[in-house]
Point group: C2
Chain length 404, copies 2
């Protein structure tokens, strides 16, 4: 059993996206080379909801929720029944598998809340949990917090094309040797790669064969670029297999400020997640739940335009970095770009701090996503197009300046 | 180590307030005596935010948050720095002890969120945690979920007057025999009693002597009735002692629909709570955090009037139940009334269901709050005055009907 002190020491958030404001800069002057690079500050640690504003109608839906008063303030812990019903049809059509919204869905405070509930409902102390490297940092941290055992499986995203690049033999070995739960994001965060149909089919097949529960975080599944085929695990797996699908309107739809997430799973798992939500946060903010009424019901063409605008930024940044000889893979979905830095004269973590200090550019260190990605950085390119382009140029200039 | 199945079996929410809608009624017809009692439905399981509307300005503060856009959507995990600073002065003045708002405060999704983080940050598997019986049901459930050991201490609230009635020798015995954390609500939920100055001083003294961390849930501390003296543990304890004070604007201020809570604690504990929040829910909904700007800054006289209106309902219901010979204690604060039912011809849990089925009155079974309170029910009397009075009459009639 791991002590509480040890478990918390693994949860450090010093380099987590959004926490940069808590870092000190007093030692940076001695490391810095050259002078400041002027330009509009860009925070690539998360999307800019001022550049990509919330879906139309979201605020009106919220106001309607407030006007409903007590009925909307105090929903069932799993979320308002009428909203769940409304979402069920839309999610079933998106995913291509049945969803009732009654006993197979829970509304959570953000998809982060859904991820926590999903893992805490299925993982006990000492259990083996397979995670992907690199993947969303909270996957690893949650497994460690639950005092379970992390079994890493590599994603060779740089060379996986046309697949995502998951090491499927290693996954099978992990499953065969006692893994109970497998958690992964698709599209992958931080790389933006999408698992191929063959990979998803194989994951479903192995999970079935070895009785492994699978949690798939599909937060960016709506933001797929042209030429990308997205396969929903829920649609290819057997209906009775324990698959937990996490979705949420935070990212693509710029609704992060309302903190909403949704999980789909077999009834027994949803019941546990609700029992846990009842003591962890009660429910997603009642009034905010109303905002889900407009989700997957945006005006004709709105989502297509949002994708096109992101694709244009993706293409621009990808070309800039490729031209500068910086290794990355073209993201197939989502708004993350994961760069491999060349060898530098300072530690990558210090480079990230210098980047903020000298060039007003915030990125997230790759070490958050994998112990093998210490030389990488993640950029969320859901930003103002020109500002992102200029910030990318400053990042390239900083790399040139600090290159060994 | 307790298995995951066992831990979840302890988390049942079937009788939790607000979950009544998930119960089936098919077996009730065979138990029912007499016909339906007509009247306006009253849900005493929580306050009626339509009867007591949110504090003025709350909605405008929310709208301002939305207009701030990204800056407010993505706050530090511990909450927006400017809001914490603003709250610090107000909370310091309310509590009578210093609060900086920088490293000693975290904003959470509801005070439920704060309670979870406080316990999870201080309690490890196997640790002994003292809880009060009766007290808020999530205290017990959280300790069990964390695989820690519950050490119950009785509150003889019916006979404690003028104190709350905590068994202080039993508390000392618990502390002396290895309790690491003590968690309790003050005002007590479900009874509405307030711990006396002597009780709080003694709790502080014992905690100091035995090195026990204390979590005090002060959710209803603003709603104190005339003649009640409220003592803040944080104000009487030594500044360096690990006291976690939980507050929130959900209840008295009718802001539950925004899901906001606040915890005050020494920096090392706040850091842990933030690390955990980062993987559990990230942060309180950013736009909702703006609503805290009006907290403790309501218009002159607003809170006094709210207290007076609640006191009038309390007095009315207390008289009704006393006149009918139903045992209870006059609540000193908050909006809960805890009734002892006389021996009935049906199990108390079935009586609660019959009450809903026949009389349109929802109450919460006492068994949620203590294994020794199976014959009690909790009423949240923050309701429309007349509706509450009529519902109380129906409850009294139902007790008469089912009395042995």
């Amino acid at each position: 059993m791991t002590s509480l002190d040890e478990r918390f020491s693994q949860l450090a958030t010093d380099h987590a996206p959004g926490q940069e404001v808590r870092q000190t800069c007093s030692d940076l002057a001695s490391l810095a080379i050259g002078s400041a690079l002027p330009g509009r500050a860009v925070d690539f640690s998360h999307g800019d909801v001022d550049a990509f504003t919330p879906a139309p109608g979201a605020f009106d839906d919220f106001v309607n929720g407030v006007q409903m008063g007590g009925k909307r303030a105090y929903t069932e812990y799993r979320g308002d029944a009428s909203i769940r019903l409304q979402l069920a049809a839309r999610l079933a059509s998106f995913i291509g598998a049945p969803v009732t919204g009654d006993d197979d869905m829970i509304i959570t405070p953000g998809s982060q809340g859904a991820l926590f509930l999903a893992l805490a409902a299925t993982v006990g102390a000492g259990d083996k949990v397979a995670i992907v490297q690199p993947d969303y940092f909270a996957n690893r941290k949650l497994v460690q917090f639950l005092d379970a055992q992390v079994v890493p499986v590599r994603l060779d995203y740089l060379h996986g094309d046309p697949a995502a690049g998951l090491d499927l033999p290693a996954l099978e070995h992990a499953f065969r040797t006692g893994v109970k739960v497998f958690v992964f994001s698709n599209p992958n965060n931080p790389t933006g790669v999408v698992y191929s149909q063959a990979e998803i089919a194989r994951i479903g097949e192995l999970a079935q064969r070895y009785g492994v529960t699978v949690i798939v975080d599909q937060l960016y599944a709506r933001l797929c670029y042209s030429g990308t085929t997205y396969t929903h695990l829920r649609a290819v797996a057997r209906a009775d297999h324990p698959i937990i699908t996490l979705m949420g309107p935070s990212k693509t739809e710029s609704l992060s400020g309302y903190r909403l997430g949704v999980a789909l799973a077999p009834p027994a798992i949803i019941t546990r997640m609700e029992q846990l939500q009842a003591i962890v946060s009660l429910r997603a903010a009642g009034y905010c739940q109303s905002v889900l009424q407009g989700w997957f019901a945006e005006p004709e063409g709105w989502m297509a335009q949002r994708i096109a605008l992101h694709q244009a930024i993706r293409d621009r940044l990808y070309r800039q970095f490729s031209d500068a000889g910086i290794k990355t893979r073209l993201p197939q979905a989502g708004s993350y770009l994961f760069l491999t830095l060349p060898p530098l004269r300072v530690a990558p973590v210090d480079f990230v701090r210098l980047l903020r200090y000298q060039a007003q550019v915030i990125v997230t260190p790759g070490s958050e996503f994998s112990p093998h990605a210490g030389d990488s950085v993640r950029l969320n390119f859901s930003q103002d197009h020109d500002a992102a382009q200029n910030a990318a140029s400053r990042l390239i200039a900083m790399i040139a300046r600090y290159r060994q």
